[in-house]
Amino acid sequence: MTSKEKVMRALRHEPGPVPVDFGSTGVTGIHVSCVAALREHYGLPRHPVRVCEPFQMLGEIEDDLAGALGSDCTGVGGRTTMFGFPNEGWHEWRTPWGQLVMVPEGFRVRSDAGGDQYLFPQGDVDVPPSGHMPASGYFFDAIIRQEPIDEERLDPADNCVEFQPLTEADRAHWRAEIARVQGSTRSVTGGIGGTGFGDIALVPGPFLKHPKGIRDVNEWYVSLVERRDYVHQVFSHQCAIALENLAEFARIASDKIDVLFVCGTDFGTQNSQFCSVATFDDLYAPYYRRINDWVHQHTTWKTFKHSCGAMRPLLNRVIECGFDIINPVQCSAKGMEAAGLKADFGDRLVFWGGGVDTQQVLPFGSPSEVAAQVTDRLETFSPGGGFVFNTIHNIQARTPTANIVAMVDAIQRFNDRGG
């Protein structure tokens, strides 16, 4: 059975070996420092690892490492990064924690006296930076560049500038990406951007040189209550563009991808969801439904929704909107216990994640504690399919290599003994 077949069985909710994902998306990856450590551990050729996603500083999972980790998935990424520059023209960069990595040509940083790093949108050092990594940090956060808000002049078009029809450069990129994965024995996840509604990582527009509209995170959340018409207008425009772009992408990708990453908007905090069910129904569901309906009517793809946090009260709505897959399944959040989720939603939703807790057990537990939790989650989530193993969100910096290896070995043992 190929990796792709393993994933497809799981997506069809059929029993079988548990497929694994490390690195097919920007929310199922591994920090570049851990990628280098894993390459070292598995005795793979040494070289500076590429930072394929500079916002979270995710490292490229090359084919050899994917094999060592037992990953069954791969991804086709966007043409540009979260900071608006293309993922090409690689050069070396020494990180604040002393690691030599490869970054794209457009990755241009400046340091301040304290060693904090500032990254520039589209690689343009003549505009204010849009990313900030503290000297003791391991990834970037968006710098809020909110112009003063004049309620009378707020124009939803200002929050729509990032939602544009695909360009010829985009089409060429996607053709090349699809050609790259064509014939892969791994399952392929793709995403074209612009289908995530109100993703708070994207609201500040770290890829824009001069973002306008509502770009402050708090201001955006306030807008969900006080400026709902504005948000509807943004989402409506965004959805129309996204559907056009998906049609183009479908012509290029066809059945060469299996899963479409739709949206990374977080609907949960550690203890509760981010919005009421009524708000979800009014503000998000109509657009999600349009995207998912189109995908299911015109392609064979399964749709992937990422949302951190305690969002159990919203999961029925997620299913009703047509999503097939939920990630990262944050079992450490309130109400998100694995067994309960599997019992209540497991026949209708694929859990792509939930494999091990990245807040406590994976970074701070012992290898045996990691193995125990991984085995427990495999036993809970795998019956009847509907489970793709992934950690709960990306593996973070400072996670002990021994713990990651313990996780990989536990998955291998589980699958070797037939589940």
């Binding site: 904090d116 900030h132 503290p134 000297a135 003791s136 940090g137 391991y138 956060d141 995170v217 708090n218 959340y221 306030v222 969900l224 209550v225 006080e226 905090t269 550690q270 203890n271 509760s272 969801q273 981010f274 919005c275 009421s276 708000t279 009260p313 990245t358 807040q359 406590q360 970074p363 701070f364 973070q396 910096a397 400072r398």
Partner: protein
Amino acid sequence: MPQLPELTAALAAGKRAETTRLTQELLAAGVAPQSIIEDGLVPGMALIGEQFKRNEIFVPEMLVAARAMKEALKFLEPLLAQAGIKPKYTAVIGTVRGDLHDIGKNLVSTMWRGANFAVVDLGTNVAPERYVAAAKEHGAQIVGLSALLTTTMPAMKETVATLREANLPGVKILVGGAPITQLFADEIGADGYAADAGTAVDVARRLVGDAA
């Protein structure tokens, strides 16, 4: 003349314009600023905190209420300062070094202000020594540490150790943030842990011996 319960209700409903208008009308009618805060705004924020704890409202509604209170306080704080009236307790708060996340920290800050604590907000990426200096300078009874990231949990531990070494009598340390647990708080020697912004008020009050 409007009544204080109207102000409480307006704030609890997140009605910014109405909260501001009622505050101004109450002032114009001669109600003492301290009473407007303690008998109008503080109960309103307490209601908000309770609703948040019960998952009846969520972060966006909290932020809206926080703005309403902040706008009302703009009218009241200068008058209190003129009269030399200060809140009974002072808290210093910040997100620990290496961590730039502030939504949770801001919510706690707002809820503490809403409970009539003076709050000195140090922002994000705060070095341990800055907490110590601010606690000394402002005579704080509470120091609040926030961290969203697993990678910055060690910085929280380091900050608690630095505060302990500084030997600040009467200062209680309260920690919180997504990956933080009561167990971790105990391990690093914090005095209190709050899972959410509403609870942070209860814990802070308990720590200063002012439990409601």
